[in-house]
Symmetry: C2
Subunit: 448 residues, 2 copies
């Protein structure tokens, strides 16, 4: 772990803001000074937000983006690992995205070291840490030292974000969220990369979601973000594989903490939904390839699929649960997970083909049942959620179940309201069959 | 006095910021809600500063500027006067600008009601309130009610800014100052107009400075600001005269609180410097014209000049001092003003023509002697200052005094340093005579 401090430099916050406001390029030293001063409290939030808006509107070039990433990275602790086989994965976020639970043990079973530092859910997307905490006893709050030791020993570890990793990013992200400066490619790049670089991986696989349920709703923006991430990774001498993947409907069928853990285990057992299995295998294949454990992506994918087929990935997952203090018997016995007792089937009111499954609303329904957070300080219910029984392109008959809602008895009124909303707004049944992509992965690129 | 409150409206801060960020037009209701929420504390400073930067870069149209002005205006108390003869004057600020002390009594002597709410100095420009407070006993902190009564009775009153006038402007101005969003024509317009409209005048004369010592350094920006101010005045049914005036060197000869009061009195006695006398007469002439006390500007100017010549303006000034509790004998006896005892003459090191007198530096020299403020909480020394003995275009012989510095004995080292800087940087002597404008007033326009 290392921390570099810049010497005292004679800059002014408003001078630097004015420069970006006027469309000029900022130097490495200016960016570093600004972020250091923000972290120390010498620059106020209102000055940062003015700079953020100037960056949003006037952009940052590759060099500036790398400087911002660097400054945010060194605002906190930086983990370093030996070797070139430590591979991380990051997703820009989607509804029902539990791929981490599948790809991480697959990659680890194939000899990749997988350091996962994951977040909690906020808003319509769930959080990896919330999901895994539905397994009784699973400990996600290791120190960075414990994290490092665990990784070197077991090759797989999953912890929650620590306060010491990229504190500047936490401050900046909170500001962006309330100042309409979220959707900026250089700012997104610096936010993702500063955290990922601080976590010390030698290579990163990026899952960039695109579609109606994604942050980058169109292919053009997704490609631009992918390129910006690859460029920044190159500047830090890190290998990167970017995959642009479909998020026009929830990934897999389950939404909700325990329900997603069950679906992940089923997928590791080879019984997972096709879309989730395919995406997890390709992302894990990319990690295996980046770690040098396969010569081609195709070979990486084949090894990943084999790790499901021969049970080694499932074994690795079970082992991780045990090592982190969790109840590893859940792998064989799902009744050990706190799934909510009550079920409501949302029935199709007509026959046809499913042409739309609203991502964001489905995520929000899970939140309204208590399965996610409206505010950061909210507690999370592990048991509630939804199973999407019919996905885009599926045929459906009137009276068949579109969605199963898992809820608690006291939520009867709420669940009725949700069911009505699903029928009215969230699942569309059409007369003609919608075309769906053969693979969720639209584009794969490497930065070499 | 009236205060209008909007009903509760369902807007979001980041939604409104995003709209302006994307170059869209904001509605009156959105702007009103944002400013009301800022004033009440429901919108944070960092959200305001993001919006300010978006406005700086994407602008506001006439309608939006009027809405912002309106929202800031009604963030506090609003004074209303009867009749169409209450005329205010505003200057965008310059070094050595003591014209208010001359034009206000002139206009009042010609039957105009002149409500002056003025500021304190900060940075290189001095403040009208600091200057007048160098007159012993002069009370500038009347309530708005006392202010109104005084105006109706005497036709002339001068007070400091109150907390209750346009509090949103105070908050926004403080933010702009540290977020590089000062130089924005719609934001400048709304800031000036919200205060001026809250002060209840029926017409306003605007003195927009241009040149090396002014905020608007070029004619194009000065014209754009003038137009924006006239347009906004029209939307509020106020008459406005904009004058674009020269600020390439300090106005008159004196810089410093007591020194400027003496120069103002001398000007009211008919002995003032030509530039200051001419500008004050033209601004007062405009006020007389707007109040309907003259049919043309020319007639207004003639009446203004007559008020100097016949002593009625001086009498009015003396009367104002007395009514506001000040020592009115200063008009006849300048030793009653606390002028600093020590004098240093800054001598020309060569012969030629003065081709430059740096405005900002001269202002800053006065500040460094204690005559102005570096920070808002600083105390002000009334006695120190500078007299500019030679102005642009003047011939000068080696050994003649360029500037007289008034200082205290303990400031000997400091004053030597200032003298050296004046010679090295602030006053330039050239071989050829620089052309100076015949009149400081470059453009006069009315909004009808």
């Amino acid at each position: 772990m290392t921390k570099i401090k810049t010497q005292k430099l004679d800059f002014s916050a408003s001078g630097i803001i004015a420069k970006k406001r006027d469309g000029k390029k900022l130097t490495h030293e200016e960016i570093r000074w600004f972020i250091d001063s923000l972290t120390s409290g010498d620059i106020a939030d209102y000055q940062m937000s003015a700079l953020l808006m100037a960056i949003y509107l006037n952009g940052l070039d590759k060099k500036e983006t790398a400087s911002l990433t660097d400054a945010m990275l060194y605002s906190g602790e930086v983990v370093q690992f030996e070797g070139n086989d430590v591979i991380d994965k990051h997703s820009t976020g989607g509804v029902g995205d539990k791929a981490s639970f599948i790809l991480a043990p697959i990659a680890a079973a194939c000899g990749v070291k997988v350091p996962m530092i994951a977040g909690r859910g906020l808003g319509h997307t769930g959080g990896t840490i919330d999901k895994v905490e539905s397994i009784k006893g699973f400990k996600t709050s290791l120190t960075l030292k414990e994290f490092k030791n665990r990784l070197n020993k077991d090759g797989l570890v999953l912890i929650g974000q620590t306060k010491t990793i990229a504190p500047a990013d936490k401050k900046i992200y909170a500001l962006r969220d309330v100042t309409a400066t979220v959707e900026s490619i250089p700012l997104i790049t610096a936010s993702i990369m500063s955290k990922k670089l601080a976590e010390g991986a030698s290579g990163i696989v990026m899952d960039i979601k695109t579609g109606s349920g994604a942050f980058m709703s169109n292919m053009k923006d997704a490609k631009a973000l992918a390129k910006s991430l690859r460029d920044t990774a190159s500047r830090f001498d890190k290998r990167m594989l970017t995959m642009i993947t479909d998020m026009n409907q929830p990934l897999g069928n389950a939404i909700g903490n325990s329900l997603e853990i069950i679906e992940s285990i089923e997928t590791l057992k080879g019984n997972g939904p096709k879309d989730l299995t395919d995406l997890s295998v390709q992302l894990a294949g990319g990690m295996i390839y980046l770690a040098g454990k396969a010569k081609t992506l195709k070979e990486g994918n084949a090894k990943a699929q084999a790790a499901i087929d021969n049970g080694s990935a499932l074994k690795k997952f079970k082992e991780m649960i045990k090592k982190q203090g969790g109840d590893d018997k859940v792998v064989e016995d799902y009744t050990r997970l706190p799934v909510a007792k009550e079920k409501l089937e949302v029935l199709a009111t007509k026959s046809g083909y499913v042409s739309k499954v609203e991502c964001k609303n489905m995520g929000l329904h899970c939140v309204s049942l208590g399965g996610g957070r409206k505010k950061a300080e909210d507690a999370v219910d592990f048991g509630v959620g939804l199973i999407i029984n019919k996905k885009i392109g599926d045929t459906v008959k009137k009276g068949e179940s579109l969605v199963t809602i898992y809820y608690h008895a006291k939520q009867k009124n709420l669940v009725g309201k949700i069911a009505a909303e699903i029928i009215a707004n969230d699942v569309t049944i059409s007369k003609t069959k919608a075309t769906t992509p053969k693979s969720l992965v639209y584009e794969i690129k490497e930065n070499k």
